[in-house]
């Protein structure tokens, strides 16, 4: 899904995010979320760029790279490492757990030979757990990119995975 970010692209993405959310301190998380969404993750260069573009304008905010990295590493939805073309987010929370979520999680790990947070060598898949997405009435639930799968069974896993290029 994501090609490696090139420098000029990072500059534009950051600029657009700042234009959209403003220069205020309270815009930092929206800006980083925007960058994360556009690039798939927040490369170190993007953090430098956010700092550079925020600090220099007259009405800008002073923010250190450390602060920005602190935000990017604190929030689960912000990634500091590149991810695969497809990201699987599995809900391993209690309601999904008690209706058979663990078997699904084990099957995913075994099929992809990945542990939580890892990416396959061909950069196709990243496997993650997610916080509860509130679809508990159809658990176990998993997301592939933005597609939701509910009432998932172990047998469905290969079928679901096959439908992604």
């Amino acid at each position: 899904m994501y090609a490696p970010a090139v420098e000029s692209e990072i500059k534009t993405v950051v600029q657009q995010a700042i234009e959209k959310h403003g220069y205020g301190h309270d815009a930092l998380i929206p800006i980083l979320s925007e960058v994360n969404h556009a690039l798939g993750y927040i490369p170190a260069e993007a953090i430098r760029e956010v700092k550079r573009q925020l600090v220099y304008p007259g009405d800008g905010t002073f923010v250190s790279q450390g602060q920005l990295y602190g935000l990017a590493s604190f929030y689960d939805m912000l990634a500091t490492q590149p991810r695969g073309r497809h990201v699987i987010k599995f809900c391993e929370n209690a309601p999904c757990h008690v209706v058979g979520g663990k078997a699904i999680w084990d099957a995913l790990r075994e099929t992809l030979a990945l542990e939580n947070g890892e990416t396959t060598a061909d950069d196709k898949w990243t496997l993650l757990t997610t916080s509860c997405i509130g679809l508990c009435s159809v658990g176990p639930v998993l997301l592939v990119d933005d597609d939701m799968y509910g009432n998932v069974t172990v047998e469905q896993i290969p079928e679901i995975l096959r439908s992604y290029e």
């Binding site: 998380i29 929030y75 939805m77 309601p95 009435s137």
Partner: protein
Amino acid sequence: MPFYRSHVLVCVDPECLEKGAHEVVDALQDELVAQGLIDEIQVLETSRIGSCSSGPEMMVYPEGVHYVGMTADDVPFLVEEHFLKGRIIEKFREVHKPIVDEELGPLRPKEVRVVLRNCGEIDPMNIEDYLAVDGYQALGKVIGEMTPEQVIDEVLKSGLRGRGGAGFPAGKKWAITREVQDDPKYMVCNADEGDPGAFMNRRVLEGDPHSVIEGMIIGAYAVGASYGYIYCRAEYPLAVETLNVAIAQAREFGFLGKNILGTDFNFDLEVRVGAGAFVCGEETALMASIMGQRGEPRPRPPFPSVKGVWDKPSNNNNVETYANVPQIILRGADWYSSMGTERSKGTKTFAVGGNVSKPGLIEVPMGITLREIIFDVAGGIKDGKNFKAVQTGGPMGGCLTEEHLDLPLDYEALSRAGSMMGSGGLVVMDESSCMVDIARFFMEFTQAESCGKCTPCRVGTRRILELLEKICDGKGEAGDIEKLEDLCHEVSRNSLCGLGQGAPVPVISTLKNFRAEYEAHIYEKHCPAKVCRSLIRFEIQAPTCTGCMVCARNCPVEAISGERRQAHHIDLNKCIRCGICMQVCNFNAVSVLS
């Protein structure tokens, strides 16, 4: 704001327009004037109600009658029959409901819907739908007829308590925020519904966003706030979108912005989206996140009502608390407090999950028993199994047992039993759940979500988790239970915020209620529920096995051997105890032993 006894919503989508919707609206206006009803019945133009295939469509509230295929010539008949004589005209009635809501479904036995009353009934993307079901009438009443003090009194009298789980009286919080001498003041809505298994707030935000917005505006009027934030988690993209649409529409209608309803009261609102951090549901962490910082909690006092967002007084309530407010104002504190127990009033929404027949979203009056919730409202335990435990209050709540099932739903009663009301997650477990595994599981969650700021929580939760993993792994030793109890006590007592203070509760409650299971794991190396992988083994029952080879083909580690049509055998040294063989066997020939 005038009070209408009835509202007629006429669809003015292109398709209905072509079939004469405007003529119907004009005829309605004329006829209502002619009959002298124009001050009692409001005609609104709205977007799509149904399929538009059979011509001008309209909804009549409060009855919720859906009429289709009516022309301007039929209008005098409609006004006479429906509005003067109160008779529904079956001839024009559309029998299908306009919006189908599978998550919520029809009212279940013993349910009372206040907060969820509009979900699935109105179009959340259209403010006129909300207006038609008495929307913003409470705001009109508050601004037109009540002083801020009277509003606070009414909310106080209703007995409404914080629905985020802590149960602080909402009216009292409003009074405290009002009394602080500092400007500006903020309203904050905690829509960071992070408890696994709890999705009540998501449903309200997606299905009836204006009730929350109206509650916040009323609160702002009462405490004297001029700006507000709704902090919504990023895992709920649809809720964020719905809220943004609703806020824009409320602004357009003059319910938000400057000079609200023609008075000198100003209040505006924005949605702030989280970025995935459970701890941001804690109010001080939430406010830090609004200000663009890491969501780390800080010690209280000062409480947000005194020093909150941008160090200014900030009134923070949860989605459900705000959504109750308009109804309390309209129907009165006495009506609200007529439901519930002595100290817990009104209704509470729950997301019932786990091993019940009918999981989903419910709203029940306070004072109902857990037994009624599980067996009458949620349809009892699935697949004819036996009830074992119910966890109330989310990941920091306790696991209660059979003996607690007749407890009334009440903040104090649940605390006394060793759990809590929490925000409304309810996970029901049957006999196939291992309580040590459940405790380990919740600890894994809170440990991962610990923000790391304070040592008892950062280190303590990890040590507790390690002990639980050791016990589940069959390596528990004498003294481990006591060590767990000590650690839990210290972490509860010394942690900075609710996350650390509550994290040990699932362990404490399972130790209290299911101690024998811990002892079985430690002393007998036995998992009674047959869940913990290290303590179980799978066996193929030779007499039942047909030798179909399905298990052998599906085994990920090739631990199963045997000829076709011959009984198979599992090599326990190779087996990783994943249970796939048991799931795929069509003859129930694989059993699990401990």
